[in-house]
């Protein structure tokens, strides 16, 4: 593909975003909206670059990412085990499945005050909320994937002489990995949502707390700058995830 065609493609894919940015700059620049509500985009970007340059962004980002990652990691371990076992054992299924289907739709943020009471306002209560939020979608999709393995695959691998251990290792676990990946895709944005929300409500550092703090000071450019950072983090994590999925599951590409 030549350069102009590529440029044209990129423009077609993003012209509406460019338009929104220009409109934002123009409306705010013309003073149609008070600056405390909508500062010019260029002012927001300037603030963002200043925050990058003086290094004040690094700490809240690192804190929030560490909390999301820790909660997510625990949720992956616990959720996979719960999902896998409840797909394999009727008793575990009887005990776990009802709790999964009751817990899944509940608004977990309601638990924030309890978690603060038990674990304080710093990282442990945030990690706990991320775990509680993410464990449900992960367990449910691992369980669904492990249950959805066609019986014929199990029969044929057994009739080809695979031991029970072989069946688990080469048939059930790969199938559950695909389920884990689709559960992760749901859980990843939820992990960020849980972290930021807990930080906004309970304080204790991180991007969410920094965002609330700048709002209390009516420092609107910083509020918008943080929102841009969160936007980029969301997009970046999703891309990272897609690469990871591509590497691990080349045999099972999603459409």
């Amino acid at each position: 593909m030549n350069m102009t065609a590529r440029l044209r493609g990129a423009f077609a894919a993003s012209y509406s975003l460019i338009l929104v940015c220009l409109l934002w700059e123009a409306v705010a620049g013309a003073g149609l909206i008070r600056e405390v509500f909508l500062p010019r985009l260029s002012v927001v970007l300037e603030r963002l670059f200043a925050m990058i340059a003086d290094g004040s962004l690094i700490e809240p980002i690192a804190v929030s990412i560490a909390r999301s990652a820790a909660g997510l990691a625990i949720a992956v371990v616990v959720g996979s085990i719960l999902g896998f076992l409840s797909a394999r054992s009727r008793i575990v299924d009887l005990l776990v499945s009802p709790l999964l289907s009751i817990g899944q739709p509940l608004p977990k943020v309601a638990l924030i005050p309890i978690l603060i009471l038990w674990l304080g306002v710093y990282s442990s209560s945030k990690v706990a909320l991320v775990f509680i939020t993410c464990v449900f979608p992960i367990a449910i999709s691992v369980q669904a994937a492990a249950c959805a393995v066609p019986k014929i695959l199990l029969w044929s691998s057994r009739s080809l002489g695979a031991s029970e251990f072989d069946v688990i290792r080469s048939v059930l676990l790969p199938a559950s990995l695909a389920g884990l990946m689709s559960g992760l895709r749901v859980a990843l944005p939820l992990a960020l949502l849980a972290t930021f929300t807990a930080e906004m409500i309970g304080g204790g550092g991180g991007l969410g707390a920094a965002l609330m703090y700048s709002q209390r000071l009516f420092d609107t450019p910083t509020v918008y700058a943080y929102l841009l950072v969160m936007l980029l983090m969301g997009i970046g994590l999703d891309q990272l995830f897609l690469r990871l999925r591509h590497r691990l599951l080349r045999w099972d590409e999603e459409k």
Partner: protein, 260 residues
């Protein structure tokens, strides 16, 4: 033996009941501090003490915000999602904007909306609206796009076109998908509404939970949280019942849980 009719109920209720009994026993045996984790019976007593007169107005405030934000998002989401599915140009315009909004955790809009509207009804309704609109748009888009061509061609050959085609062929065919999107939206609605109330509101269940927590009245805090969780669960159950009723013409089993 248990009658066959009751078995699914027994299966669904056994482990929650065991869990609650274990919880009660652990607290009674003094294994955990009852101040940090009140037992289910203590929570019920606290709930009676709070009483309906104090609880109902807050519950109504929360549900009203959720209902308004959700309803606005449902209408907006179905219209925008359909438009994007039917028009290549609309899709090209809105897709990048939606994709970038999608990446922001929705509760992060709360501080911005406080800046815009101050404290009260609108920042929470607006954040509920934003959180709910996106899943409805996405699922509507897929629902309308995936309507089988054959069905559209046969409608066209019967002389149905334009608006009639949309309202009586495409939209009904997309309804199963759209309702799944709305169910996910309903879950988000409770989450962001409660988060919003904990951050800014002066009314609502979220505010009530938070102020009991700050006042150190933990049994009451647990009581209001339990009420909220039960209400959210019932809302989801009610929506699923509505889905199953509305989609009873579909040739398949019941819509099952575990989607969000």
């Amino acid at each position: 033996m248990v009658p066959e009719r009751l078995q699914p109920w027994l299966k669904a209720l056994a482990s929650p009941v065991i869990l609650v009994l274990l919880w009660e026993a652990t607290v009674r045996a003094g294994l955990v501090d009852a101040e940090l984790l009140p037992s289910p019976t203590q929570i019920l007593v606290a709930l009676r003490e709070i009483g309906a007169a104090e609880l109902m107005p807050e519950l109504a405030a929360t549900l009203f915000r959720i209902a308004v934000g959700f309803a606005l998002a449902a209408v907006f989401g179905v219209l925008l999602g359909s438009w994007m599915a039917l028009s290549e140009r609309a899709n090209g315009f809105f897709y990048p904007i939606l994709a970038s909004t999608y990446a922001i955790p929705k509760s992060s809009f709360i501080p911005l909306f406080i800046l815009w509207f101050g404290i009260g009804f609108w920042p929470i309704v607006l954040v509920v609206f934003i959180a709910c609109a996106l899943p409805v748009v996405v699922y509507t888009f897929h629902g309308i796009s995936d309507v089988p061509r054959l069905r559209i061609w046969s409608a066209l050959s019967f002389g149905v076109s334009g608006r009639d085609l949309f309202w009586s062929v495409q939209l009904p065919a997309a309804m199963p998908e759209i309702l799944v999107g709305m169910r996910i939206a309903l879950g988000f609605a409770f989450t962001v509404a409660i988060a919003g109330e904990m951050i800014v509101s002066t009314t609502g269940l979220g505010k009530l939970i938070f102020s009991y927590g700050e006042g150190g009245v933990y049994a009451s805090m647990f009581a209001v949280i339990s009420v909220l969780l039960v209400v959210a669960y019932l809302a989801d159950l009610l929506f699923m019942a509505f889905m199953n009723h509305y989609l009873r013409w579909l040739d398949r089993g019941h819509v099952s849980g575990g989607h969000a």
